[in-house]
Symmetry: C2
């Protein structure tokens, strides 16, 4: 029935500024939805199953808006280069291995297991061009109980031979086959259209993907304005586009027709930002990756001031951590350096704002997700923060800050719920 | 006798560019010193005690050149402000609690235990102004087996009442008493002279500390050129000094007379850098702290090119992590942003360079420490990196990168040696 009550020290964002923390409260889940928070449990709920997490932190499950499952295996390796070199010398070489289903199974089992034991409950995930390996990944993710969008990647140009689909036609055909094979087959794991990025996809392929999007009404994920060399390349490849985002838009793949998330947006111009806002495109902010690949710092505070939709992404293996706790701290830290070194007129992102981005901000891509307000889907993570000893009295808010900053590895993960189902 | 042999996958820096990695090798410790690395164990060592760490990583113990023990308890709290506000509103309030020996004991036990279970084997540590609490800390550290310098802090101006010593004279008297009480009393825990920073110490006190330094021949630790407002303040307080470093130098507390380490150096001018080089002053680079407090990014690569002595510091609680693994990754990451956003003529710090800084670079403050070369003091950390599963074959060098980037919490810490003594 997915109806029950949990009790503990509850933290969630009401809005981007307001982080609510409540000691010893009851949180009701009815038919997989949040149905109120109480100091004393109302009589009507007294017969529901009860999980007592007193003394532990209860936070909304977090959304990872951008990551690459096949890159999980080589996190932290070859970190001394920038995006385009890193793609050719590291990422593409690793992804090519996923033509081998046995390797894919072995690697994706490790990835799925790690994701299950993280604070993440929802994620948008890139697989590779390989249809079979992508299905293996989706099956494994389904078993975790997490709720994810997974994309078979499209690449038909500027890619090494072993990671280049033979034609736009073949890429589109495989994509349709994969969509038909996976749509409505799994409870919690859905296909998402995934052109890698403009440089990897011919116009012919992008036109076909636009058509597929409209026919199957799929959401879309890709990369946008991550690195200056990349942006210059896109300008050369798409001379008629006003900006990188406009290039996607010209193929109907930039939010007008479908829910769309774009990773990075480090160097989005005002014009591109306007287009994202008009089209409701989500920004997946990936601060660790933008640092590791020497890309720069995305001006997230400015995007928030412009009311863009923003969530956080781990972007493994550009980012080396699978932890959204770490992504929250990274977001705050990088915004401080942006303030100090780039634009002192825009204040740093606060802890409360970054917590919002990891929960309600990114959660919006999945609907009413990422908060404990009434009628939000019930995603929760319970943390036993007694693993972080301290000599002084602490408020719930202080304990939350410690959990996020000091516990990226999520030691003391005690329970986890996704859409009302207890998965740990 | 502190003579034995260990075997495993050995990693250490020969120099700043060259990181040696050796699979399945023997490392000999004789009378607490490294005495060679071998593919097969020479007969002369065959009777020594033998620890078999086959399949595990063996790395030099790391040196934390700058951290604050009393701030460990409030890591990650109140991170939304800059240095001077943060000192007044957070750090000083917490440090004032250490007038209470019971609180100090409780808090320092947690700190010492965490340090013991980290990759750190040596550290330069600030305590507080409180003589008794500082002695409590030193006793606790002694029990861990780590090798540390600990400083009773001096502060007699611009500090809150509860954390301000009543006069320069009293501060100096307490310092002498503390030196006499602790010198040669402990095996592994030594006093270090610790004027907090110029703004906290009157000229009268600094003169006395210079005299004490010469009489007792103690090393010195303090802060330097961390934040622009702070530097401006020092200029106002010391109008006759050419720069912040020169202010210390004018009191004989800047390396000419004694081994000296200065934390931060984010904004050191060429002139200050020259003085540091002439005087052999060590830089304690604290990238996490410089980010958290919106200070900026210290141009470490430039300092290395100028042959300054540099090591890494966690600078808790400006930094929120106690991990030198994390400090290595932070050093690389911040230098990439420095390259991208501040000075594109200076390349980022590489992984090998940052690893050197955490081991041999900072270790030099303690003598021949931080490497496995012959006659280096035997500090080693053994890590069972099977806690980081992976689907592919990996070299020892790749496993080291993963351990550093993915394992800041040092899961799988298997054994630890300090100066030839096994402490874990």
């Amino acid at each position: 029935m997915k109806s029950f009550v949990i009790k503990g020290d509850i933290c969630y964002s009401e809005n981007i500024d307001t982080l609510i923390t409540l000691k010893d409260h009851y949180l009701v889940c009815e038919n997989a939805l949040c149905k109120g928070i109480y100091t004393e449990l109302p009589l009507e709920y007294s017969s529901l199953e009860f999980f007592d997490y007193s003394g532990k932190l209860i936070i909304p499950g977090m959304t990872d808006l951008h990551t690459h499952a096949p890159q999980f295996a080589f996190r932290s390796l070859n970190m001394d280069s920038e995006l385009l070199d890193w793609l050719n010398n590291s990422a593409f070489k690793e992804e090519a291995k996923y033509s081998d289903n046995a390797y894919a199974l072995k690697a994706y089992e490790i990835f799925a297991n790690a994701l299950r034991h993280s604070v993440t409950t929802r994620a948008c995930i890139f697989a590779t061009i390989h249809m079979d390996a992508t299905k293996i990944l989706m099956d494994l993710l389904e078993k975790t109980g997490l709720l994810t969008y997974v994309g078979k990647v499209n690449m038909d140009r500027n890619s090494p031979n072993e990671l280049c689909e033979e034609s736009a036609e073949k890429s589109a055909e495989d994509t349709v086959r994969w969509i038909n094979d996976t749509t409505d087959k799994l409870q919690n794991t859905y296909p998402i259209l995934t052109p890698r990025f403009i440089p990897s996809c011919t116009d012919e392929l992008m036109i076909k993907l636009g058509e597929i999007q409209r026919e199957y009404n799929l959401p879309v994920q890709s990369h946008l304005s991550e690195n200056k060399d990349e942006i210059k390349w896109v300008q050369e490849l798409c001379p008629n586009s006003k900006n990188y985002g406009d290039a996607y838009d010209s193929f109907g793949l930039f939010g007008k027709n479908a829910k769309t998330v774009m990773a990075h947006c480090v160097y989005s111009t005002d014009e591109e930002v306007e287009l994202m806002k008009d089209n409701g495109v989500f920004v997946a902010h990936c601060p660790a990756s933008n640092t590791n690949l020497s890309s720069g710092i995305a001006p997230i505070k400015r995007y928030l001031e412009k009311d863009l939709k923003v969530g956080l992404g781990t972007d493994m293996a550009g980012g080396h951590s699978d932890s959204l706790f770490r992504a929250i701290a990274d977001t705050v830290q990088m915004s401080k350096l942006c303030y100090r070194l780039v634009d002192s007129t825009t204040k740093p992102v606060t802890f409360n704002e970054a917590f919002y981005l990891a929960t309600k901000g990114g959660g919006e891509f999945f609907g009413k997700v990422g908060s404990f307000e009434t009628d939000y889907e019930f995603d929760a993570v319970v943390i036993d923060d007694s693993v972080l000893p301290h000599p002084q009295e602490l408020t719930v808010y202080e304990r939350l800050q410690r959990a996020v900053y000091l516990n990226a590895d999520c030691k003391g993960l005690f329970a986890k719920f996704v859409k009302g189902k207890k998965i740990i």
